[in-house]
């Protein structure tokens, strides 16, 4: 789905490339964490995949297209297949939740009837049912990020890129958000998330690609992210989190298997689970490794 072949990106007036001879492949339906310290090249990698930047050398393939040869007029079509979520949410402050999500469809020419059907479905998937008329400043950080996620997935993209989506959120809410992203991934969307949040990475045990000074230094399936000087969470085998603050989640999502259907013809029979279930869904299929954050005594 995404292929970087010896890609180097050097910004003007810099001595070191932001991305240096990176080769990696993300398969369809995969969930990949790109980790590394600030300035390691995580965001540049995502920007290259979005064709917001062009590689200085090497080739980038996204959804079967080689981006170097993709003409400008076809870039919008590429981006319709990629959803993006950012640390700062990037919501329009003067538009309601519904309007923010609908905006993504309006600007690509979707009809009013499609918007009226799709937006509420998407808001229900991300757990924002009933908050359609709220303005962004009336929402918590976690809810704002859910709106941003709803906007990113409302057009049912094949790929979802998230650049530090939990950077502005507290740990409990972060887990909920990544749990939501995990559920979206389980519906078939390829997920690439750049983060330096070790709690998140270690909680979900996905493929981890670590960058250091623009180079891939590690690519592990089910890997961890350990910077070595930060106290790590402990793990046990219990199937749900019990130490995560979950005040933010309003529920609103069913089992991940429903997610794929929900975008097209959701029946709406369920009210949605609470946030505990939501996080548990994020770890579904990994009973022996369900993440459980535990602060060490004295922390």
């Amino acid at each position: 789905m995404i292929l970087f072949d010896t890609v180097t990106k050097k910004y003007p007036r810099t001595t070191r490339p932001a991305v240096d001879s990176v080769s990696l492949e993300v398969e369809r339906g995969e969930f990949v964490f790109i980790v590394g310290q600030s300035g390691s090249g995580k965001s540049t990698l995502l920007r290259l995949a979005l064709k917001e930047e062009n590689a200085t050398s090497g080739a980038v393939f996204v959804a079967g297209r080689e981006l170097a040869t993709l003409p400008d007029r076809k870039v919008p079509q590429l981006r319709r297949e990629i959803g993006t979520v950012f640390q700062d949410f990037r919501l329009l402050p003067n538009k309601t939740v519904f309007q923010n999500v609908a905006f993504a469809l309006q600007v690509i020419g979707k009809s009013r009837s499609v918007i009226r059907q799709t937006v509420p479905e998407t808001l229900r998937i991300v757990g924002l049912e009933g908050k359609e008329k709220r303005l962004p400043h009336e929402l918590s950080g976690g809810e704002q990020q859910r709106v941003a996620i709803a906007r990113a997935i409302v057009n049912k993209p094949a790929i979802l890129l998230a650049d530090e989506p939990t950077g502005n959120l507290d740990p409990g809410i972060s887990l909920e958000i990544v749990g939501l992203l995990d559920r979206i991934n389980r519906s078939g969307t390829t997920m690439v998330m750049a983060t330096h949040d070790l709690y998140i990475v270690n909680a979900f045990r996905k493929r981890v690609i670590e960058l250091k000074e623009g180079r891939v230094v590690r690519d592990d399936l089910g890997g961890e992210y350990n910077t070595g000087d930060i106290v790590m969470p402990e793990w046990d085998t219990r199937p749900s989190l019990d130490a995560v603050a979950v005040g933010d989640a309003a529920g609103g999502a069913e089992d991940s298997t429903d997610l794929a259907q929900a975008g097209d013809s959701h029946t709406g029979e369920a009210d949605g689970p609470n946030s505990d279930e939501l996080v548990a869904v994020g770890a579904a299929g990994k009973e022996s490794k369900t993440p459980r954050l535990k602060r060490r005594r004295g922390q």
Binding site: L50, D72, R73, V75, P76, Q77, L78, R79, R80, E81, I82, T84, R90, L92, F103, A104, Q106, V107, I108, G109, S111, R112, R151, N155
Partner: protein, 302 residues
């Protein structure tokens, strides 16, 4: 992009940017008013040319006693010479249309009457004037035929073409109207720069919106169209107001006042305003589209 969405975005943009929109409207109005005045001045010159060239006369001045004309040799034109000139003129119809004879006294009286409010009228003496044949032509450009026939003929002091005098006046009028157009072009440059600045500022203030549009796959056309249309709307309002001002100037200033106060010349009218309107409005739209398109190409790239 749906029309309702586009209209909504244009409306929002105009509302959020009222002060800049007003400045674009005003600058466009003033520049288009000046440009319109320049174009109308050109039409006024053309109208006056048509009017005066129809009335232009060739004067064949005869000799008087102690005449200063070289051909006269100090003696006055004899009756025989006078009759010969008249007979020749009569034979030259066309291009000669009409011939009037004006005596020295009549010429003096006419001059005094024309310059009654000027010291020139008082200072002039009858001796400075001469008898003349006033010849009107079917085609004002046929002056050469008359000049070649009568210049140097016995009893003829000088053949003078009024058209040459008028041409000097029209040259002056042309300079004035081109100056107005040059001034208008400067104002148009101001309008273009202001439009570009406004668009840049608007694009900057809406960068979050346009950033999202780019990310979700909106086309260049969708991203740029609201900005272009906002500029076009503001420029059109400015051009519309300029046309209203031009109409009022011509309707009440020229057709309503000047043409009744100065009845011995022709003036432009409201139809001339109507004639230049498509050029002014079309020019404004083209200018707004080109300016915004060029500015946005740099600032709103996919």
């Amino acid at each position: 992009m749906r029309l309702t969405f586009l209209l909504g975005e244009i409306g929002n943009g105009l509302r959020r940017n009222v002060s800049m929109v007003v400045s674009v409207v005003l600058v466009t109005m003033i520049s288009m008013y000046l440009l319109g005045m320049g174009l109308l001045a050109q039409r006024q010159v053309d109208t006056m040319k048509d009017y005066w060239y129809d009335r232009v006369q060739v004067s064949i001045f005869l000799c008087v006693d102690k005449s200063l004309y070289a051909n006269c040799a100090g003696s006055a034109t004899t009756q025989v010479q006078r009759d010969a000139v008249k007979a020749q003129l009569e034979q030259m119809k066309p291009p000669v249309k009409e011939v009037f004879y004006e005596t020295q006294a009549e010429a003096y009286q006419r001059f005094k009457n024309q310059f009654r409010n000027s010291p020139l009228g008082e200072q002039a003496t009858e001796r400075a004037f001469a008898d003349s044949f006033r010849v009107s032509l079917t085609d004002a450009s046929k002056f050469d035929v008359i000049a070649s026939s009568f210049q140097g003929a016995p009893g003829v002091g000088k053949v003078q073409d009024q058209k040459q005098l008028l041409d000097k006046f029209f040259t002056f009028m042309n300079v004035v109207s081109w100056s107005a157009i040059a001034l208008a072009v400067l104002m148009v440059v101001c309008a273009v720069l202001l439009m570009a600045t406004t668009i840049r500022q608007t694009a900057f203030s809406r960068r979050r919106e346009t950033g999202i549009m780019r990310l979700v796959g909106a086309s260049n056309y969708t991203i740029q169209m609201p900005f272009i249309m906002e500029t076009v709307v503001a420029a059109l309002v400015g051009a519309g107001l300029a046309m209203v001002l031009l109409y009022a100037t011509v309707r009440y200033g020229i057709a309503g006042y000047l043409s009744t106060a100065l009845t011995d010349t022709a003036f432009i009218g409201v139809p001339d305003v109507v004639a230049i309107a498509p050029w002014v409005v079309g020019g404004v739209v083209a200018l707004a589209v080109l300016t915004s398109g060029f500015t946005l190409r740099r600032y709103l790239r996919v």
